[in-house]
Amino acid sequence: MSADIIPLYRAAAEARVTIDSLDLGENGLLRLSSMGLFPGARVRVIDNSRPDTSIVECRGTRLALGRGLAHRIFVR
């Protein structure tokens, strides 16, 4: 609970994090939630070294998230 809340793109590779909140419009939120990305979801960071994309694993699915998105997903 006391863990820092950071944007997803700043999480370290191989870190297992939990989504805290999402700063997105309605469409974006619903789209992500249909993929299981909503507050409380566990996410494994695969690769954050690219400047433009975060690659994460959530619910057994490998996802590439654009930089805009990785800035708006907050994790702890």
Partner: protein
């Protein structure tokens, strides 16, 4: 009981769950593509028979949910609602159960009899997860079977089960009843209220969190949808706990190792460009052989007609120049198109295309496009028309319009015949591949420049989240790739057979009429008669040669008195700066309608389609003798950039929602082509 029964079944599932492979295996070649009215998502339909029953099988587009967020989802949802199939066959990627079951739960809520097919069960086992199918069947209240689609394992019983399931009256399952009419239980969420969903820092959502009933501005439905999603995933978690053992094995799969290179920060893009280069080279080299065979067939056909009906007539000219010249000239390039599509399909099926989108997102972003634009742009290498259709998956209007605008610059397969005619005519073998590559590259660079410009015209709306699934790499099956390649080829042929044929005939008409006056014809006849009288009959070869010269002169004279020539001449002041003459101009008029007509038209303009029977050879050598390599390059450059074909023009108007856009695109690109080609010609001269 099953005698002559007609069963309507649909295949539904996530993208990349192996649905198409399954569909192809079940229906074989008995497929048709139907377009859903209003949108341009393809619906594949096929039939299979089993025990006297005919199963009409529809392959819905791959979707993650029925939320109607994308066109694919809307088509699938609407199809299920309006057609109410007898059975839903839900194909589930067994190696990725959690995400796939989300759709399963949504589909189950439709209340249509369902069979869950756990596909790719072998991969799931490799990853160390065992699925208790009986327990899963109980949990879901549906039949569950396992298959390995790409090896055809487990498919035998599927058709029978579809028939059997269709005959059973739909009965609410234990799970359905427990979940209150098929809806997942939202108990947990209601307990904790909105607090469980600190969904957004946007103020309307803040409002939601604090007021008891909703603020009204934010959508109550949105919160409800989100709650439902959370509940579904909780339900899936519970199902998995009961049915799957060893469900998490941290995997550094071979996909990760590939991605280390293919998605590399610096190597990724060069690898992508190299892959494209190899594809185009291979297309060129492998396509050479079947092209020769088709050419020989058409020259044999022309020769046969020529020798059977030696008298010149209107009808003969129409058949030889208009029909055979038009269709034959287009069909000759079918091998190249098939090879190109084959490679593109392989790249798509292997999972590499998703990586290409990721790689390109950064660059696409820079030029005002979306990473997802790469897919339409790559389809654009095949044909701009389906590419424009596939641009619909870019939900942001500004990005979609920009993508649509630059799409014609991604050299489509219809321009390929032009390159294949012009490049070998002017450049030696070693330069052909590189020149082809260069012309594609020029198109891409132009697209970048234009989209930058177009994106500045529009104001940026809310940014579209870029999210793409990176499916594990896998070897594409020959069957799936083969069927899709043939189908693309068939689409090309259909286009060649209808629109192109029509245009070819119109253009032939333009070149044939009004033609020579009777007096002029008589003059040529008199020359022939004089020749026959002057040369003794034993010197046949000399006679034939001289006669051919007269024929050729007559054709030239005929053409110079045609409508096309008049148009070509009228355009000459504009064409001159680019190094073009009126003959090229006449062929370019054809290219306005459809790019590939350029080749047929050049054949007619130079009247090489008939006499020698080796039309293409003759045309190539005529071009070589008439123009310089610089002009050759200018021809392909102009054809690359200028005037998208009629079909593209119509499609642009449809997809952008306005004829103004279509006109603006046509005008801008044509003007730009003129400027660039003129520059190249004047500088190169």
């Amino acid at each position: 009981m099953t005698q002559n029964r007609k069963i309507h079944a649909v295949l539904a599932g996530n993208p990349n769950c192996g649905k198409s492979t399954l569909f192809n295996a079940l229906t074989g070649a008995r497929q048709t593509i139907g377009n859903f009215p209003g949108v341009t998502v393809d619906l594949y339909e096929g039939t299979a028979s089993c025990g006297g029953a005919t199963i009409h099988l529809v392959d819905l587009p791959g979707i993650y949910s029925l939320l109607t967020y994308t066109d694919e989802e809307r088509v699938a949802a609407e199809y299920l609602n309006t057609h109410r199939p007898d059975v839903i066959v839900n194909v589930v990627d067994a190696s990725n159960l959690e995400r796939n079951l989300y759709l399963t739960l949504m589909l189950r809520d439709k209340g249509i009899p369902m069979i869950v097919v756990l596909n790719m069960i072998d991969i799931a086992r490799q990853r160390g997860s065992e699925i208790d199918t009986d327990a899963l069947a109980r949990e879901l209240g549906t039949e569950v079977i396992t298959t390995i689609g790409n090896r055809g394992i487990g498919l035998d019983g599927l058709l029978e089960r579809i028939v059997r399931r269709a005959e059973q009256p739909s009965q609410p399952s234990a799970a359905d009843t427990a979940a209150e009419g098929g809806q997942p239980k939202p108990v947990v969420i209601h307990d904790s209220g909105h607090e469980a969903l600190p969904v957004s820092s946007q103020d309307h959502a803040e409002g939601c969190r604090h007021c008891g009933d909703c603020c009204g501005r934010c959508s109550n439905t949105m919160v409800r949808d989100l709650e439902r999603d959370v509940a579904r995933y909780q339900q899936i978690g519970a199902i998995e706990q009961r049915c799957v053992t060893n469900r998490y094995s941290a995997r550094t799969s071979h996909s990760d190792r590939f991605d280390k290179f293919l998605l590399h920060r610096y190597l990724g893009i060069p690898i992508f460009l190299l892959a494209m280069f190899v594809v185009f080279q291979a297309t060129f080299l492998l396509g050479e052989y079947p092209m020769t065979w088709i050419e020989s067939f058409f020259s044999w056909l022309t020769d046969s007609i020529q020798s059977s009906y030696p008298n010149e007539s209107f009808l003969k000219s129409l058949i030889l120049n208009g029909i055979i010249g038009g269709v034959g000239g287009v069909l000759v390039f079918l091998p190249n198109i098939l090879i190109l599509f084959f490679f593109l399909c392989v790249l798509e099926d292997s999972g590499y295309m998703a990586r290409a989108a990721v790689l390109s997102d950064r660059w696409m972003h820079k030029i005002g496009l979306h990473g997802r634009s790469i897919v339409p742009l790559l389809v654009g290498f095949g044909c701009t028309v389906p590419a424009m259709m596939s641009a619909r998956m870019i939900t942001d209007r500004r990005e979609r319009l920009t993508t649509l605008f630059v799409l014609p610059l991604f050299s489509c397969s219809a321009r390929f015949p032009i390159y294949m005619l012009v490049i070998p005519a002017f450049f030696p073998q070693v330069y052909r591949g590189p020149i082809l590559w260069l012309i594609y590259l020029i198109g891409i660079i132009m697209a970048v420049v234009i989209s930058k410009g177009v994106s500045m015209v529009f104001k940026k709306e809310e940014e579209e989240p870029f999210m793409i699934e990176l499916v594990p790499y896998h070897r594409p099956t020959l069957r799936t790739v083969g069927i899709r390649t043939l189908e693309r080829g068939w689409q090309y042929v259909k286009k060649a057979g209808t629109i192109i044929l029509g245009i070819s005939i119109i253009l032939w008409f333009l070149t044939y009429f009004p033609g020579l006056t009777p007096e002029q014809k008589e003059q040529f006849e008199a020359q022939r008669a004089a020749l026959r009288a002057s040369i003794p009959s034993d010197q046949e070869s000399e006679l034939a040669e001289k006669l051919a010269e007269i024929d050729s002169a007559e054709e030239q004279a005929h053409l110079s008195r045609s409508c096309a020539a008049a148009l070509g001449h009228a355009m000459e002041p504009v064409l001159r700066p680019m190094g073009f003459d009126w003959k090229i101009g006449t062929a370019l008029i054809g290219a306005i309608a459809a790019k590939e007509v350029f080749v047929a038209q050049m054949g007619i303009v130079y009247s090489v389609g008939d006499a020698e029977g080796e039309g293409r050879e003759a045309l190539t050598s005529t071009l070589r003798g008439t123009y310089t390599p610089l002009i050759g390059f200018c021809i392909i450059l102009f054809c690359l950039i200028a005037s998208p074909c009629m079909a593209t023009f119509v499609m642009m108007a449809r997809e952008s929602g306005s004829w103004k856009w279509a006109l603006a695109q046509w005008g801008t690109l044509t003007f730009l082509a003129w400027v660039v080609t003129t520059l190249v010609y004047q500088l190169g001269k």
